[in-house]
Amino acid sequence: MSSNVITVPVGQTEARPWVDELHQWLITVDHKRLGILYIVSSLLFLTLGGVEALIIRIQLMHSHNNFVSPEVFNRMFTMHGTTMIFFVAMPILFGFANYLVPLMIGARDMAFPRLNAFSFWLSFLGGLLLYFSFLGGSGLYGAGSAPDVGWWSYAPLGARAFSPGHSSDYWTLALLVSGFGSIGTAINIIATILCLRCPGMKISRMPLLVWMNLVMAGMVLLAITPLSAAQIMLLIDRYLGGHFFDTQAGGSAVLWMHFFWIFGHPEVYVLIIPCFAFMSEIIPVFSRKPIFGYPVMVAATVCIGFVSMSVWAHHMFTIGMNSYANSFFTLTTMVVGIPTGIKIFNWIGTMWGGRIQFKTPMLFSIGFLFQFLIAGLTGIMMAASPFDWQLSLSYFVVAHFHYVIVGGILFALFAAFYYWYPKMTGRMLSERLGKWHFWLFLIGFHLTFDVMHVPGILGMPRRIYTYEPGRGWDTLNFIISIGAFIQAIAILVFVANLIVSYFKGARVGNDPWDAWTLEWSVSSPPPAYNFATVPTVASRRPLWDLKHPEDPDSHYE
């Protein structure tokens, strides 16, 4: 098989005028360029969402602060949540999936390249629509509005009686538009994985990253569709006289909650499963061992996919469901912890007996493991619904899900950036800046989100723009805000690293990490057609087989 994994010489590219180059980026249907467009646009939205988070943290630095008005504060947390989930986390993960899945299965592009471009532009323009609400939210008369009903927009707060003007409409339309983009991408990923695998790549030989993205895409189809349906129902309520969620006319607020969370909880796994995927590629390479228990990892992922579709109402333990419903969702939520725990054990099993190299991607991966462990355990605490009657809607929950999203997802994403940046650009990210980034971010993260659990336990609800003095919340909130600024500095180091290394980073060959999956068999960056000859594989680690012909994996599988 070795003869099929060939190196393609990089073609001579002529310098084009920048307008022409920009035009090429706008009309591209290449999965790699679209992947990079997803990632870069998500980074722009990350900056916006980050600034909103800092405004929130300045306002909460001490009790009775007057940095912003309650109206502005409510807009900030609404925009922060909506931006980070829909226009940062999802698209950036789609970007990596777009870039990596075809390369890892030996395909030349996604199954539907034009649908791919369409999906990206829908997501991106959805984000612009959301931010246009700052100008158009009040119909342009009094510019300076934006949705302020929360990223969950609980009924009836999103109804016209309580949210007049157009700011909520921008929120609804932005989610609807980008939701269609997500559905398109999910269909594309599924079709690509099922139909375009290279010869020899049986479904049991796919890299775990590909497996996990397959499960993620399936979940996107099941989760985004009810959200889109709910958005359409909300529009009908707001403009066509419907009463689905209009409680003033007998509608149901609880119905909206079910619609939102049957999207909202699988969504968490839609975000974390691709991060499990990064871990399952990066940890083996830097431990110099294959993933421990490949079949069990696949089974655990599929199991999470199924079980996580039946846990949504654990977001609703306080709404007065009966005791049987509360018990059921307690059980399902705790059960999700089992396959998730198995994954953590398998990653430890992978490191066990290995020779761990502490490169920046591995540092972020180890950070992920520790933090995801804690995030999972606080999740178990809140799965116990009576405990959740106290913790829900408090800062404990905010700390918990930021532990998942920042401590888990963002750390995994940073690992992925440091790991695949050389493949995408042909240059290494600076290790020195990378270590600065890692340690600064780690310190800032723990300062903010470890401490944030405590005000929740002391009775501080979330979504409040100010709080009373004398409850023991002031000092804690001050520390939390300091941590937020340290994280912001770390992000600046990261962005500087991305930019400086693009021009000055050390040039790399095909395979800087001595890795084992197919994307490392082509040049960095890969040519537009990916593979000159479609490769044939005989095991889960085709490049291991190539490098160790005396002891190939294919003998054992």
């Binding site: 109206e71 607020a253 079949p295 912890g337």
Partner: protein
Amino acid sequence: MTLRMKSSLDRGRQLALLLFWSARPLWAVEPGGSTAQSTSIFSPASTPAKSIADLSVFVLAITGIIFLVVFTLLLYSVVRFRGRAVDGGREPAQVYGSMQIELAWTIIPILIVVVLFLATARVILAVQDAPEPGGALDVIAIGHQYWWEFRYPKLGIVTANELHIPVSDPSHPTPTFLQLLSVDTDHSFWVPQLAGKTDLIPNHPNRMWMDPQRTGVFLGQCAQYCGTQHAKMLLRVSVDGPDDFSAWVRAQQKPGVEDASAVAGRRVFERNACINCHAVGGTPADGRFGPDLTHLMSRATIAAGAAKNTHDNLRLWIQNPSAIKPGSLMPAMKLSNPDLDAVVSYMETLR
């Protein structure tokens, strides 16, 4: 090497924090506040809050043990299996997995989940499905945008923002059962020391109960985002001894006090839009959009706890509510200074 040292130090801090949480019930008094001001979920003063706190300690202990075990394994493998220069670039033994080990770390978590679930289900049933005893007090709590209305149907009392309930002696329990309603958006009733929170949702009546076992004022606030002034929708629950509670009930059952000295203020109040929203018992004022003012001066705070109930605050609140609570639905009445003073004097007679 230094790198790894730092890493372990950092994890140690997390560990300390986790232990700190689990130890919290030992310190019922919070830093920065007296016991009465505490809103910690680990200083319970009533049965539902106590059962939850006990369950929480149990769950914290189990998750704490899991944390210690997995944390140690992780730390050990990171330190023990670090790459060394002496390896000389040789690859370690390639191990693909082990079914026995996989089975072990699947079955143990399943057993833990069974234990946790049973312990939890017991508390769910005990708190949620508790029958209402004969001596219980019924109160209807109604959420409004940024304030609480409390109605005592059997006692004929209507009040706002400050709930009075009797202390409950374990031998003769007199728990309070709240029916939770909302007239506008979603709210959530949360007084951490008395019970877990339950939402007030329009068209979806809920129920919760509490049996406080010591007297005092317990603080809480709206926990579900309900609009612009969600932050200043504060709650005070005054738990009174039997005699104090009866005295309070008798005082609240009286009609509004008629004080001849405040006739001018009453006239201003009744001629303006005040009475569209506010009620004063025994007078033409019967609005229900805002808090009932019949016994306004019996309350310690105004504006749902946003300000102390003083002469200056009352005056400021009537003159410009946004100064205390921007986004509140109370309009600025733009009264002339003499009218403003008269209305404030009238309010101060409503004992």
